[in-house]
């Protein structure tokens, strides 16, 4: 599982030539605008705790949470911990969301089934959907190929988030369904939304 910043990501030089000295370029073209939309959507939903294990597509979202004094940002060692943290937050009356890569979803399965689903706790899971069409990294492709089948097998309702105008309404709808059903709900953050190529 490689969830680090991607060393092979395209460099800014390919768009604007050689960067000036002292310029600290973003290492990768993750969409800052879409990240901001997602973050604002989470805030409008009343999310006060975010558990994360960062990956490339989520770097701006994590930075936004870091800069927000009203957000409890829980940095995890492994994504499954985030299921426990969110369950605790829910029982304590605080709305939370999980931010992770789809390989983190794979790593969280027992927690999702044996804690969140067994105990009927709503989970709002924002999952970056790596390994789909356009994926250039071989190591992402196996996980990409099973993500939706896994969600279906787990009976987790999910939608793809690929367009900016869908972000706010889908977040609201996902949270509403999670809280009404007392079950996990997932939104898959797609390449078209998160990556500017």
């Amino acid at each position: 599982m490689s969830r680090d910043a991607d060393p092979h990501a395209p460099r800014p030089a390919r768009r604007g030539g050689v960067p000036p000295l002292g310029y600290t370029a973003p290492a990768m073209p993750v969409s800052a605008a879409s990240s901001k939309l997602v973050y604002e959507g989470l805030k409008e939903c009343g999310i006060r705790l975010l558990s994360v294990l960062p990956e490339t597509w989520l770097v701006h979202l994590v930075s936004l949470a870091e800069a927000d004094p009203d957000m409890i940002l829980v940095r995890l060692a492994k994504e499954e911990e985030g299921v426990g943290v969110s369950v605790g937050a829910h029982l304590a009356g605080v709305r939370s969301a999980m931010l992770m890569q789809n390989h983190g979803l794979l790593a969280s399965v027992n927690g999702i089934v044996s804690l969140a689903q067994l105990y009927r706790v709503p989970l709002l899971m924002l999952v970056s959907y790596r390994g789909g069409f356009g994926e250039e990294h071989p190591w992402q492709t196996e996980g990409g190929g099973v993500t939706e089948d896994l969600l279906r097998a787990l009976r987790i309702p999910y939608l793809l988030l690929a367009r900016a105008d869908e972000v706010a309404p889908r977040l609201r709808q996902a949270l509403t369904l999670a809280e009404a059903s007392l079950r996990p709900v997932a939104l898959l953050l797609c390449r078209d939304l998160m990556w500017e190529e």
Partner: protein
Amino acid sequence: MLRLEAMRAIYPLLAERVVVTNMGAAPAELFSLGHRPGFFYVEHSMGLASSVALGIALARPELEVVTLDGDGSVLMNLGTFTTLARHRPPNLLHVVFDNEVLLSVGRSFSTATAAGSDLAAIAAAAGVPRTGTYHSVDSLAVACREALAARELAVLVAKVEPVGPASYFIDLHLLENRFQFERHLRGLRGLPRGEAAGVLTAGGAENQQQEHTGERP
């Protein structure tokens, strides 16, 4: 020491706090000592009791949270020590009952602690500010009281005999436990710490719920 006797010694500390347990023998023994609405038993999902406790402790800094765990569970989520340490909630006490076996599947299945892995040392190396290993009921009880009084994140390891209750049955369905616990935590919102420690009657909890229905429609 026997886990049941250790639990009996710290029960007065637990009864007035929020408690999250792992699965199996520990919740059954705690239940046998007397259930409280502030006790949540995380049956199954081994390793996540301390993560649930962390979520509560961070979400509600005014509550004091104790999590009762086991060596087999902690070994399934060793990263939890690093996550606890980096967030360092002062209102969280993590007690690990280490019997060096996976007791619920038989005493022959020893864990790595039987081969020398030292959970308190691992927690300390992860950055947990207060750790210790205890071999007697009295020393454990003293360490628990001191950790709570210090208001400092602690991981305290109690070396216990590989002995459990005759039955792991708890006469409280896990969903009943879950909803009672959530309602109890909701009822504690906004109460002064002394009152928050008390056990609410069913009527009291209902009244509190009425006051706060707007928060989670």
